[in-house]
Symmetry: none
Subunit: 540 residues, 2 copies
């Protein structure tokens, strides 16, 4: 039996950019758009060209997508202007995009109060804008803003707006619960009415989470006939956020009610990358991932209750509604050493580190990891530090060199021109094969100075780390039991393009940064097969 | 028209205690139970007497509730034991409580795999346990665990379990979606079937959030007939949590679909305390509140979009589904690079900063903000820094004091015991009324040392900042056009409990932190009405 196609429209880069505390750089937008295309999203809304330099820049060259259609967002022409004489509309039409998503009012109240224009002028604006965009060959969709509120007060006008869009050639008419206050049963009933006027496979839903029902509202709309869902990764969005694609996608793929009937662009393989996609976005934004997020949260498959844990060991299906691996997440049972151990073994397998199940050092590694995780280390986010810790505990990392001492100084003062200057300097003393090596450097900040000093002269190890670059540095303050500690995550890259992440945790941010830095250098030495301390260097 | 009574059952202290990372002390439990009673919750489930010392202690004396019924949770008698010879059941019956909530399997698969007993024995266990508890005068309810999964595979047995509870005298039969995987339409259809066998006003719903639909599932069950909802504050609970009462309560009170038909124990007055209740629980658990939580989140009524902001200034109902005050929350219109002059004016009004619309300094403020935001400042997240910048640009902040110089040092070395130690020290030179004041301090890290040194001696300003505490510190690295800069957000609190956030941006993390620190101190001085530099101090 052939299934119906259901389309996914991501607005992380547009509506998600309205999230309080979120602002995307152009580089962020490029990276996220690629990730969404890889995931199998059908439409990636990149932003609002003409509204700010980032978005205008992003729409100057269409990203090279494999699957997704790159979509520009903007307003229909302003009341009282012609389509050809509206600079906002012009910017939209000039944007290098496959599709244009217009936002248009569909509530009589909003037209009167917010737009301060007439119903007829609003309808004309929709028609003119859609025609102007189809005329230049764009796929067009219209977000009918406030559709459900509008339908409640004046159903004929709300429907007239939707029909004006469809009749003028819009591929999609998207019904929006802009203020997020509608209930699923109301959404379902209203969509059924709308579907009497516009075919369901031309209707979309755009829901907000103000009553914690954006996901349910989106699914209710699908049951009532819509075939496009708009949402964001991790439910980003203004106020309480938009419908969360990280919850919707697994439900559509894994729940028979939907998977028997619908097909989406996300394959099973890509679904298994969803947890990674969700975490990557949070890391990019330096937001703490929601541990309790459905499907992708760190705790989504964690069992703490004793009775549940013992049942889960008999058969995971007793307390899991779907298999964690299907979304790239994993099961964790927080009860016994047994469970901790199997988690660690799974990690070793994932890291390709050979081990003997009877090696007593494994028990030591499990205990060490537990202690360190309790202190704030997050090995899940720091693959290279886990790798090093495991290899060290199993006795597989040579002693390379020792840092005997470092000293970092930041000074701010007025210079001789009466201007305020800040200077950061570091001195590092390293011992390689018994020889002390002392280096000093100045940097933009204390961590940069420390990094430059450390890597200035590592003797025989220098050649292995010349290609090492630090590409990201993130800091979080954790309020643990005994007071605040700082967690630093450092991402590095080498000349082969391999990237890895290391971690440091300490009450002192410099110390935490230094730990992460040292792990990165050591990881690179292990990876390059550098000789142990005291070993005769290979001829180079 | 008289409305039907809908009962609220809170399981924050039992199912919520299964949350990964949550551990309640006895004092926590007592304080939270009182808060729930004050709120107007009908049943407060305190825990599992007999399972651990905290819960056993909590059930040794019933709290003095004004409204709520204190409820003990536990298992039905074990297979193969008589009710009178089961220590778990005995502990439950001895607990000082108004009601007992039993958990019982209602899925044939679970009975076979997890309990390893027979269907008949499971039914007998339910009947015996309910009778034993009603015999001692307790109000009895039975959580039918895995009811919806059970109904899917063997409807007759699931219903038989529910009926066994009801027929033996249980006041409430609670249908549980234990694994959280059911869809709202399935919940609704299944509840309608169950209501053919057990009157709806004896049925309850217990939903989990594994597909982000616990709230929708609970409301679907209410529409299908149940009259008790079980949930937790802030949606605490194992894995992805339980149905969130902080979302359900306002929806039941404020949405006509429900408020026209149902009455709950929470009055309008108490509803206005909900935001406070939600934040208090998070503070008690030292969890960062979810800013985006429906109704009670800090961002739930925050508008960032320029076009939305201008509409909201015309009429808040344009972009708000309910009034923020109804749940004790508040409206906020953010200043961001997407917002122009009108938004800045609105912020000034909100911050109670008087201004003249024709003041040319306003144009300077708008330009200054745009420039700073382009450099990485995010004033939307830093209310106090916005406040200071605005007052400074409008010429309303006196010169208090000047920091002439600071010097921060972090050193790591081996101490005389051969142990690696890290020491952070700072020296700050301040000039107050022409007098130089030099202070030094040691801290956990460089920022802590700098903060301690700066605030050690500020002369006549010292008394105004004695109550100042730093409560959160966040760092992000921004990869802007001209290289990486560090953005620091600092949250502070004073002796009156007021909180504010300040921001600093610089390539140097110490400098960025210092800017945020200085803004916080200056904000506190403005707030306290401290005298300008050179002014004669008021007698203290």
């Amino acid at each position: 039996m052939s299934r119906e196609r259901l389309y996914l429209f991501d607005t992380t880069l547009r509506d998600g950019a309205q999230t309080n505390g979120v602002d995307f750089t152009l580089q962020d937008k490029q990276a996220i758009a690629k990730m969404l295309d890889d995931l199998g999203i059908d439409y990636v809304e990149g932003g609002y060209p003409g509204a700010n330099p980032t978005d205008t820049g992003f729409f100057s060259h269409k990203p090279a997508f494999r699957h997704a259609r790159f979509t520009a967002f903007g307003m229909t022409r302003r009341p009282g202007r012609s389509a050809s004489n509206d600079p906002g509309l012009a910017a939209l039409i000039e944007a290098d995009a496959d599709a244009i998503c217009f936002v248009a009012k569909s509530s009589a109240y909003q037209v009167r109060v917010a737009l301060e224009t007439t119903k007829d002028e609003n309808l004309a604006s929709i028609r003119d804008s859609v025609k102007a965009a189809t005329a230049v060959g764009r796929e067009v969709m219209v977000d009918c803003e406030h559709f459900f509120d509008g339908y409640r007060e004046d159903p004929a006008f709300a429907l007239a707006c939707a029909k004006a869009a469809y009749d003028s050639g819009a591929r999609w008419v998207v019904l929006c619960d802009t203020n997020g206050g509608a209930m699923p049963n109301e959404i379902e009933a209203t969509v059924r009415e709308a579907a009497k006027h516009i075919p369901g496979d031309h209707l979309g839903i755009h829901a907000h989470n103000d009553t914690e029902q954006a996901v349910a509202n989106s699914l209710a709309a699908v049951r009532a006939g819509v075939r496009q869902i708009q949402g964001t990764l991790n439910g980003l969005g203004e106020r309480c956020g938009n419908a969360n694609l990280c919850s919707l996608i697994p439900t559509l793929k894994l729940k028979k009610e939907f998977s028997d009937i619908f097909e989406i662009g996300v394959t099973g393989d890509r679904l298994a990358a969803l947890t990674q996609v969700s975490r990557t976005l949070d890391n990019m934004l330096n937001r703490a991932p929601n541990r309790h997020a459905p499907y992708v949260g760190e705790s989504a498959f964690v069992t703490k209750t004793g009775i549940h844990a013992s049942a889960i060991l008999k058969d995971p299906a007793t307390y899991e509604h779907v298999a964690p691996e299907s979304v790239g997440n994993r099961r964790k049972v927080l009860v016994s050493d047994q469970a901790g151990r199997s988690n660690v073994l799974a990690e070793l397998e994932r890291a390709n580190i050979a081990f003997d199940r009877n090696d007593p050092k494994l028990g030591r590694l499990v205990r060490e990891m537990k202690e360190r995780e309790a202190a704030g280390y997050a090995y899940e986010s720091a693959n290279a530090s886990f790798d090093l810790l495991a290899r060290r505990t199993l006795g597989r990392v040579p002693e390379y060199f020792d840092v005997e001492q470092y000293d970092v100084n930041v000074e701010q003062r007025y210079n001789s021109h009466g201007r305020r200057v800040t200077v950061a300097m570091a001195v590092v003393k390293v011992r390689v094969d018994g020889q002390p090596l002392i280096s000093a450097a100045e940097g933009n900040g204390p961590v940069n100075a420390l990094d430059l000093a450390l890597r200035k002269d590592l003797g025989k190890y220098q050649k292995y780390i010349d290609g090492l670059k630090l590409i990201d540095y993130r800091v979080r303050i954790l309020n643990g039991g005994t007071g605040a500690v700082t967690r630093v995550l450092l991402e590095s890259e080498d000349e082969e393009g391999e990237r890895w992440t290391t971690i440091g945790v300490s009450p002192n941010i410099i110390d935490a940064s230094f730990q992460a830095l040292m792990d990165s250098v050591f990881y690179k030495l292990v990876k390059s097969g550098a000789p142990a301390e005291g070993a005769v260097p290979e001829p180079s």
